[in-house]
């Protein structure tokens, strides 16, 4: 989960409410598709992370781990 910035973790926990904060990196985030649209908007405008069209796959946003992997991959390809 190293690649999940604290602000994002905070956002996810709020978006998931009333579910408890995520503790297990492999537990499904359970955010529905309109919630995911808002999450993408948050990543782009608040964190400045551009999500490409071909990254808009539900599996990339399924768990903290998959999201972390996506961000790590993006960072790696950016540097």
């Amino acid at each position: 989960m190293d690649h999940i910035p604290p602000k994002l973790k905070e956002y996810l926990d709020t978006a998931r409410a009333p579910l408890p904060p995520v503790s297990d990196p492999d537990e499904p985030l359970q955010i529905d598709s309109l919630g995911l649209i808002r999450l993408v908007a948050f990543l782009e405008s608040d964190l400045g992370i551009r999500i490409e069209d071909e990254e808009l796959l539900a599996e990339n946003f399924a768990t903290l781990r998959s999201l972390g992997d996506l961000l790590e991959k993006k960072k790696a390809s950016a540097t």
Binding site: D32, L36, E54, L56, L57
Partner: protein, 471 residues
Amino acid sequence: MNNTLETDVLIIGGGPGGAAAAMFLLRQGITPVILEGEDFPRFHIGESLTGESAQVLRRLGLEDEMVRREYPIKHGVKVYGSTAVNSWYVKVSSRDADWNLYDNITWQVRRSDFDEMMQKEAIKRGAKLMKGTATKAMREEDGAVTGVQVRWPDGSHGEIRAKVTLDCSGQATFLANQKVTGPKYVGSYDKQVAFFTHVKGAIRDTGTSGPDAKDNTLILYHHKFHWAWFIPVDKETVSVGMVTPRADFLAKKQTPEEFFRSDIYSINPELKRRLPTLEFSEKVHVVPNYSYQVRGFTGKGFICIGDSHRFIDPIFSFGVTVTMREAELAAPLIRSFLDGKLDDHENPFREHEIACEKGIDNLEDMIDLFWEQPFAFATFVHSRYTEEMTDAFAGRIYESEHQPSNAIMAFRKLLKRTRTYDDDIYSVPIGSRYHPERAPLWEPESPVETTEAWIKKGSGVEKNGEAVHAS
């Protein structure tokens, strides 16, 4: 009757495709013969029209007639997610001459009434309607179609000879079944069955425009490939249909009506809310909701239009649009052909075929993405490609200078798909490549005669290695 009749253009089938074709041909100074096997009015499915359907009707001068008939006005389509907590909306739009987008409306129709209106209008304008069923395509030695043999209502037989035969026979796919065209391949969406009827007393919204306008088309999602529609067709009546996996229906061993009554409420909570009672004014119809694509659907002396060469998945209501637009695109070409202005090489209508193929391919990419990646699809509608998605939903898919749009190029990226149009007309189309094992339905040595026979057999034909790998 045992006569032989001659005409420039013969149209097989007097549904919306055939009637629109007749009206566009009349504008080109061609008086066609429409051959229709059924007595109209007759029940037909396909009641929600897109923005482009409405534009075609306006171009045909039929807007006043549509208004006079008080068909329910559609401002847009609302799609509900499976829990009905979320929904998204796409408004009906048009483009002006400078390609600027503006809000528009279209209609939903009771097809028995609409189809009869279209047919009568074509006759009023000069088309000749003949009641009879095409039974066999007549051909020259080089394959050119020269007309059809006909069975008249009194059981006798005759012939209609024509310079051009337009196949507007819908899912009957007359020329494909006659093996005049290239192969007819089974597409991706073939494991579902649609059940539908007309319901009285359904609860509509109350608004006058936008997402809550009272007569919008609603699509209610349940699971992948499992969904329902809610389409107002007059002041009292709403068409309600559900598309379910064939296996669910077979497992329950119920009549279609029993199955419909027992399953409709479990599709989506929003649908349940809107149907307080289940009072039907029409029997429960059943259509196996399979998709298919005919290759080589134009050639010497013939053009297939609309459902007679391709059907994908009815989720976004493109059928009537495609058939009427293809009719509109074909009419001026037929004029040129009759005037001897098309180089009569292999296939005078080849360019038309590619233009139609490209248009529907855009729709196929859209529908595939909706089912495969609903989250990406919703993001495109919601924020990334709102304008392009509005175009796609309206059915603006043939405007080659604007299509494929950025949205459609993004669908292709997500689907890991590229499209080319230089492969031969017999190759397996993309829409069938998910299921290559069932692709070669129509091969000279195919053990299966027709799609219908194939569907009955269930498991499909044996692998035809050559056809499978020809891509």
